[in-house]
Structure formats: C-alpha cells, structure tokens
Symmetry: C2
Subunit: 367 residues, 2 copies
Amino acid sequence: METLTAVLVGGGCFAWLQRRRKPKSVEEVPPKMQRLVLREANKDITLAKLEIEEVDTPQPKPGQLLIKVLAAPVNPSDDGAWKTPPSHGYPLPLGNEGSGLVVATGGGVWASQFVGKKVAFTGKSYAQYAVVDAFGMGPWSLPSSIKVEDACAYFVNPFTVISIVEAVRSKKGKAFIHTAAASQLGQMMVKYCQKEGMALVNLVRRQEQVELLQKLGAKYIVNTSDPEWKSALGKMMMELQISQVVDCIAGDFTAELIELLPPGGTAWVYGRLSGKDLSSINPIQLIYFGKKLEGFLVSSWIFKDGVVRGLLRARKQAAIVAKNFDIFGSQGFKDVSMKDMHQAYCSHLASGATGGKLRVRPWSFKG
Amino acid sequence: METLTAVLVGGGCFAWLQRRRKPKSVEEVPPKMQRLVLREANKDITLAKLEIEEVDTPQPKPGQLLIKVLAAPVNPSDDGAWKTPPSHGYPLPLGNEGSGLVVATGGGVWASQFVGKKVAFTGKSYAQYAVVDAFGMGPWSLPSSIKVEDACAYFVNPFTVISIVEAVRSKKGKAFIHTAAASQLGQMMVKYCQKEGMALVNLVRRQEQVELLQKLGAKYIVNTSDPEWKSALGKMMMELQISQVVDCIAGDFTAELIELLPPGGTAWVYGRLSGKDLSSINPIQLIYFGKKLEGFLVSSWIFKDGVVRGLLRARKQAAIVAKNFDIFGSQGFKDVSMKDMHQAYCSHLASGATGGKLRVRPWSFKG
C-alpha cells in the first residue's frame, strides 16, 4: 500500500513537472551541428576510425534540455567504446559527460528552470549540442564560483570517488588500498579520504608518483617497483586493519592483492588499465579464506537500490561535488578540438603521463 | 542485555553439560593404536610421504568421546593436505570425517549419552581411535537402519549439497548450474534437488556420465565435449532463469561460465579439480555486468552467522541427512586399509574414475 501510494504520488509529481509550457530558448540555435562519432571500432584504439560528422541539431522535447556543449573530458573509460563494434550500429556518437549552457527547452515546469543556466551533464558530449532529460542523472546546475569549462568532468571521477568510499563503508571498512593512485581519480581519492577521515593506502609504481601524492599530504604510499613493497604494504594493512582493495589495473595484479588480503576480504575491480584479463587467482583464497571478487561501476552503485533512491543518492553526491570543488575539480586540462582528440589521446596514453587530462572543446578550440 | 543473558544462560547450560560424571567405557581399549600421518608433503601427491605410525591411544577428557573408527572416506578435498607442509609441523594426522562406535567418554552429562552408540563424526579419522568433543560439529548418532560403515561420509558431501542449495536460495535462485556433476557429490545433488524442487543443470564432459545422470532422472544435462554445448546451456539458462553457477573445476572454465551468466549473476567456486588457478576472467563481466565471484566452503557457510546459529544449522542439516539416507549415503565404496590408501587413491585419480569412493578401514581390512 505504502509503495503504491509512493508510486502514485511520484507519478503525479512527475506528470506535473513535465506539463507543457511554452518552449524557451536564450539564443538562436543553428540548424546543423558537428559531432564526433565512431565509424569503425578496433581493438587497437590507434586504428579505430573516429570522424567529425555534420548532422541536424537535435530538438528538445517537453521535459528535455538543449545544451550548448562548452567542454567534455576524455576519461580512461571513454576509449572502451572505440574497441568494440556498437550494438546499435555506426555511426556511434561519442563522449559521456560534459558541461555547457542550457540554450533551450522543449517545455515542462521542471525543465524550464534550467534555461540560461550553466550545467554539468551526462550524455553524448563530443558534439556542439546535446539533448538531455531535465530529470535524470544530472543536469546539475553549477555554482557561480565554478567556471563552466572546469566542471566538464563533474560526474565520472567525482561520483566514482564518493561511491567507492560509500562501498568500502558498506562493508564496514575504515581504510582501504587504492591502485594506480596517482591518476586524476587517485588524487581526488587522496583529498576526499582526508576530508572523510578514511585511511587510504596508495599504490603507485614510480618515485615521482610517490612525490606527487606526498605533496597532496598522502600518508600511506607504497611504490610497487620497490622489491620490498609487499612487506611494507602488509605492515600498513595490519596497522590500519585493511580488508578491502579497490583496483583499476586487473591482470595478475589483482590476484597478488587478493593473496595479501586477510580472510573475508574483498577486492573491488573498477578498471582494467593493464588491458589484461584477471588471472592467476588461487581458488583456495576464495574457498578457504572467504575472499570475494566484485566489480565496481559508479552507475550500478548509485542505482543499486532502485531508480528513486538512485536519483536521490545522485543528488546527494552532486551536492558534495559542488561543495568541495577544490577536491573534485580536475586539474591540468589540456584543451583539444574534436578533430584532434583521437590523436592527442593516443599520444597521451603512449607517453604514460600521470595526471593531466584532455578536454574536448566542441566549439573549435584552435580547431 | 539480551545478548548478555543469552551468553550467561548458554554458558550455564554448557557448564552443566560438561559436569563431571564418572568416565564410562563399553570395551577395553588397547594402550597403543595405529594412525595414518603425512611425513612429507609434495605438490605431486604421488610423491607425498604418508606412513602408518604407532602412538598412544588418546584419552578423552570430560566432555569428549573416544570413537573406535570403523570407516573413513577419502574425499577429493583430502589430498589438499598432502601438498603443502603443515603449519604445525610433521607428523600430520590425516582424515577429516568418519564413522564408528563410541567406546568411552571422559565424563560429562552430554557426552555420556553417546557411549555405546554408532556415530558419524568430523575429526582425524584415518586412525584406529579418534577423540572428539561431544558438543560440536557432530558427533551425529546414527539411526539403527544405517550400517555404521556406510555412514562414514556423513558430513563433507551431504552437508555441502544441502548448504549449496541454501546458498543458491539465499540469492533468490530457483535453479542453478553444477559442474563435474557426475561426481559422488553431483549425484547426491541431482537427487536432493529433485526432492527440493530446485531445477538443476548438470555439466559433465563424457557421454557415459550423461547416461549415468539420466538413470538418476536428471532432466537437464549438458555434455561440454559437445561443440554446441554453450548454445544448449544458454537455452536452458533462459528457460530456467538461471543466474548462478556452482563450480568445482576452476581454471579457465569458471571464466567461460561467468561469460554465460546474465548480468548480476554469481559464480560460486568450491573446488579446483582442474588443479589450476582461476584465469581469463574479463573484468568487464564484473564491472559492467555486475557479476560476482565467490568461494564456497561448507563450514564457512554453516558458521556464517556465528557459532550458536552454526551449530543449530548443522543439527538441522544432520536431521535432513539422517531422514534421507537414500540420497546422502555414498554409493560404490571400495574398501582399503590405511596402508594401501595412498597408492589406491593415486590410481583412482589416474583412471579418471567417475563416482566410486575409497573407504579407509583402520581395523586392517585386508591390511
């Protein structure tokens, strides 16, 4: 009965919010726009074919917004789409999140409030314009203190960091290990864990990464190129009573970390920077020591208790990001045009650069 | 407060049950006995050194029983101990469960009831006598209808089968896949699932195993040596809405099964018959499809909610075994002496024999 009431009330509110009002716009929108699409996937991303396509500028329906995209980040997870032929065929529009100005709406009470506002959003972002639902995962209105281009990476990394800390706490963890800890996400993790009083052991593989994290005030850092790294890590794990590791490398490395965990520990895998499958996992570790291996994906975490609770959790996390933009604002963006992004990203990967992030500027930044 | 009361009441009961009464015995016990021990571990079990040792017959303390061991099975899990040097040094007494006659007690109200009774038990069983706590994982008094030797495999396989069905149900499963399904345990699983109305897909790798399970009335059988096995399995999974697989093979095979699971599915691993580590697991399956990999161990399952609930769960499972001995009595035992067991077991493994089980008879069966 309680559920039925909630559904009816929720449905009623939603219908009211979508109620037709006159579509609005704040500036003239050209009939055509450019977007970056995948034309041919390839396991070797340097061989994937990405190209600029000119298409009709999309029209927002009631309850939707048209966003003039001012910036969109290239996250390590973005290139996954370039490797596999898309299930709905080519061309596949690219980009997963971005920021910009809401220039029009197709109408609706809820949607109308956003017109003329700076927002961060999730949706196909490597395009001059994007259409998004006004009621969903974003859009998030940006505080006036934040420069709109700097908020393009508002969702993927920040929400992942916040969600991982929630996930560790859900298993009663007060400390955990994080791998590839010098990444953009890793640096946010260091700062957010400091704020949250969560002890964090950072695993990196080069001395300059140790120094980078020390500058951020990280207390526990282990360099895995040190031959004694396992005993150093073991001591920290004892001291901090760590039973969880959050790994984005995969390959054999996850198995090594599983061996180090105490009985009943959990290894969360949220990435595969090694490009390799999980291997060399001794089943004895799972069977006799009760260790678990789970994947972690930010959207699955947010919506794990259903859509309504998921949207509420997302609003809560967005508020944390807005309030702590000193932590969650990505650093060291390198601007590129849509046309140059593919090559620039492949060079960036080949250089093994730590930190730094590409930012696509669909309005022809030097493009 | 409630917990404190429970602890005090429980402690009081326990103390009363352990209260000294005159030790009892039903037959004279020789001062010396023979037992089978590990003298040197080896990864190749054919090279491990097992030998018969003569030692003082152990004396039960108050609350303990002395069992004259009449039979003890050799489970596939037993040889694990032969591979790794024991943490408490050599000699390592062997055997994990068995059945026999309770010939003496060191006293105690609870223990005294068992004297003269036929029981199944867990404890070092490849010996002429075993001392066990009267209050723990067993001993389980055997119904008069069961021949004592036939109840030697009362715990490991039967409790595992019952616990696996509980585990699948704990994740709301009404059906699951079981690998190496023609094993002794697999055959029990077929019959127990029939009784419980749990749909079961049996994976085997040879035609004669298909026929063996068909004779037991198994409805869903897939022969993995058939090149079309994956599509056949896929259809059954759709029909039965299967999202769990229970695997005792490990190696690459678990990864293949994980790929076949629907999003959110779970792979439980409870054995490593392949002798290989878990490998080739695509992290995408865990990250984007939310699939989980967990170990399964019968004792961990039973005690997952603490000792008191664990002992109650074990009592409940023992009652199921006693009531359904047509299902849980192992079939086709081959009797061997302690002396001959090592060689007989290695030959049994080398022959790749399906079903059939060795039964150690410490009182020199033809030994």
